[in-house]
Amino acid sequence: MRRLILLVLLAGTPALGSAQSSQFGVRGLGLPGRALSVQALATGGSFGLFDPQSSLNPAALAAFPALTAVFSGVEDFRHVENPAGTESLRESRFPQMAVGGQMRRYPVALGLGFSNYTSRDFSLATADSVPLRGILIPVNDTVTSKGGLSDLSIGGAYRIQEHWAVGGSFHVLTGTNRVTASRTFADPTYQPSSQNSEISFAGVGVELGMVRSFGPRFAVAAIARSDGRARVDRDSTDVARVDLPYTFGLGLRWQLFPKLTLASQGLFRTWSGANSDLLAQGGTGADNTYELAFGGEFTPDARRPTRKPLRFGVRYGSLPFPLVIGEQAHELGLSIGSGVRFAQERAGIDLGIEHVWRAAGPYSERAFLVSVGVTVRP
């Protein structure tokens, strides 16, 4: 009975998606996604490099116990503050899907992933007065963007002996950004205007990763990834190239007690490679970013670790695309979550809630990100 109620309540946050759009995703390529499953999100991302349901480390695919499909979504409840005012917003996204499993008779695991690479969903409203024909006319402008880049990945992991797993993946980065600028006038003799454009992206990336276990209680993971250059088309015309970052990551996992496992990871991305490209297009450039996460998972029943675990974590990091040149935004997140498994562990639902603070100069926002993940093992 309690399981049923939990299921219904969890289903109440359906559009859950974690590509938290933000006012800090207005510039450049948008707000970077995190390619994490809900389980990993609930730990602040600290388990991401060890998590086969996330798309951070191809070597982690070796941890899939069987063929598994994962789908997640995030509902974003955000309060925005900037010099123009404050507003409470909400948004739904589906940032992470993955399918993977072990090959029979071979120490090999394969996986497909679909994750949000950057999100550029926003709608910005400004009010002003412009002098027209000698009279000040109040106008309302709205710039709207929908879309971003998605990361389609195919990867594999190979287990070497008991303690090593290495993996590699190939990534196709693609997506479309539909942008609209509209204006209305207080004087009805001026006709409203609306202009649209479609900006599409295409690029590829490769990644190598490893996981090394030192006994049953301690493990280390590392990744290196290159995403090359993305081609940018505007309304089907090739207009630009943008350097995408190299990503380096290192993670640690330590089972402190049978019921408590802690983890930490750090990620570094060389977004500054895109700086000159973005400045050349009239943007505000880009800065390198880092993310540090720490978290843990407490399992009340050590013999059944998937039964209502308590996950928690904290992360701190920087964002790549400043709103104002030279003023890089930072974010802090506190998260908590849990999950249930049922049908003989063939299905499960995970829930994560994260409170995020982001700030840069006079711009700030805080958000609750409610994430729900569905796991199926057919």
């Binding site: 207005v26 507003e87 739904s92 910005l124 600028a181 001026y190 202009q195």
Partner: protein, 407 residues
């Protein structure tokens, strides 16, 4: 208890589903931090007609073929007389297959006033008997001399409270002779109208084209021994022909753009869109400005409506005009006005952008109900060097393509 919990969970879950699917994305923003691409910039430009290619054309609707006839007395814009000719009235009536003579006992003549200057009182409409051969060749000089007492039918005093509608006169007894139709004239009665009032003014009266022309009803006694309906009959005759004649019709002035008047003039303005507008600009406002060459002439209190039409094909005077109301702009012409007339032609100019098949031209004319049916005769400055005032122009406010920030 278990069912209640399940129900509660279902309700809470459904509510959560519904609320969670709603998005609210719009947030306040300020520039430059939250203005990707920068602010939207507006530009203004002036479009002048192609020199020498703005022209007036005349006589689209002949006098009398419009929705009203003009009658005036001392009105500065023009001096007019109206003429009606009724359908033929036969000189006998068939009763039981036998043509019977009749005598006219009384006559009712009904007119329709379409408009008048309601501030001028003492209006009287005077009817005169004209020869039945009056037709479209009639001129003021041929008609007016016949509007004399010898031909007087009657004078209809119009109460000041009557602003429009029917007025009539009934002739009985010896007065019937004033509308007697002499033998050999085809049985047709023609009447001429003039008017007087406490001050110089004019009226517009109904016409055949307007569906409210004059009517002429004869009440008869048929030469039969019977009584009742067979003996006492009436014959009603509608207008067969009508026109109005104008004293000293002004010749069209080629240095100005004329619209309306008794010659029902129309004018065409031709433009050329500059490349920055033709390609990708978003036009948010386009205003056609017309400068009156002189105070707008007309009947006080009876403004006409002018229309600016998009042109489907530029064939000069015979250019087909759009009937799509989206591309027709109207405005009222106040009598005596000297201010620049402004017509919002944004959609018309946008049409020029959107379709290369549509010539960038505008046709100016009076509304259909006003052509050759109103005293209003505006004239506007043209590109002609001899024009007394400046030429028309279109003020255009536009946006260039928004420079969406390309990542």
């Amino acid at each position: 208890m278990r069912r209640a919990l399940v129900g509660l969970a279902a309700v809470v879950g459904s509510a959560a589903v519904i609320s969670a699917c709603q998005e609210k994305l719009t947030s306040p923003a300020e520039c430059p931090g939250l203005c990707p691409g920068g602010p939207q910039t507006l530009f203004e430009t002036v479009l002048s007609p192609l020199a020498g290619l703005d022209s007036s054309f005349h006589t689209y609707v002949a006098p009398g073929q419009g929705a009203a006839l003009l009658v005036s007395s001392g009105l500065p814009v023009s001096e007019d007389r109206a003429v009606y000719r009724f359908i033929s009235r036969q000189d006998s009536i068939a009763v039981r297959d036998t043509a019977r003579a009749y005598t006219v006992d009384s006559v009712l003549i009904t007119l329709n006033i379409v408009a008048r200057d309601t501030l001028v009182g003492g209006l009287k409409v005077v009817l005169f008997h004209l020869p039945s051969g009056v037709d479209s060749t009639a001129t003021f000089e041929s008609v007016d001399p016949q509007l004399v007492d010898a031909n007087l039918i009657d004078t209809i005093a119009v109460p000041d409270s009557v602003h429009s509608g029917q007025i009539q006169t009934i002739l009985r007894g010896a007065d019937v002779a004033r509308v007697a139709i002499p033998p050999g004239t085809g049985g047709q009665l023609a009447v001429g109208l003039r008017m007087t009032a406490a001050a110089p003014t004019g009226i517009r009266v109904g016409s055949l084209a307007g569906g409210n022309g004059a009517t002429f009803v004869s009440y008869l006694t048929v030469d039969v021994p019977d009584t009742g309906a067979v003996r006492n009959q009436f014959l009603s005759r509608a207008t067969e022909f009508n026109t109005f004649v104008t004293q000293n019709r002004p010749l069209p002035d080629p240095t100005v753009l004329t619209v309306g008047g008794d010659s029902s003039s129309r004018s065409i303005l031709r433009f050329e869109l500059p490349p920055q507008l033709k390609d990708s600009a978003t036009i948010v406002r386009a205003t056609l400005e017309l400068i009156p060459a002189h105070p707008l002439l007309g009947l006080p209190g009876d403004p006409a409506v002018m229309e600016a039409h998009a042109v489907l094909a530029d064939l000069g005077a015979k250019s087909p005009l759009t009937a799509d109301p989206q591309f027709i702009v109207t405005d009222t012409l106040p009598e005596g006005g000297t201010d620049t007339l402004r017509l919002e032609v944004t959609r018309v100019v946008r049409l020029w952008q959107a379709s290369t098949d549509r010539p960038p031209a505008i046709f100016l004319l009076l509304a259909k109900a006003s052509e050759a049916a109103t005293f209003t005769r505006p004239a506007f400055g043209s590109t002609n060097p001899a024009s007394p005032v400046g030429p028309p122009r279109i003020l255009i406010t536009y946006q260039l393509p928004f420079p969406f920030e390309i990542p």
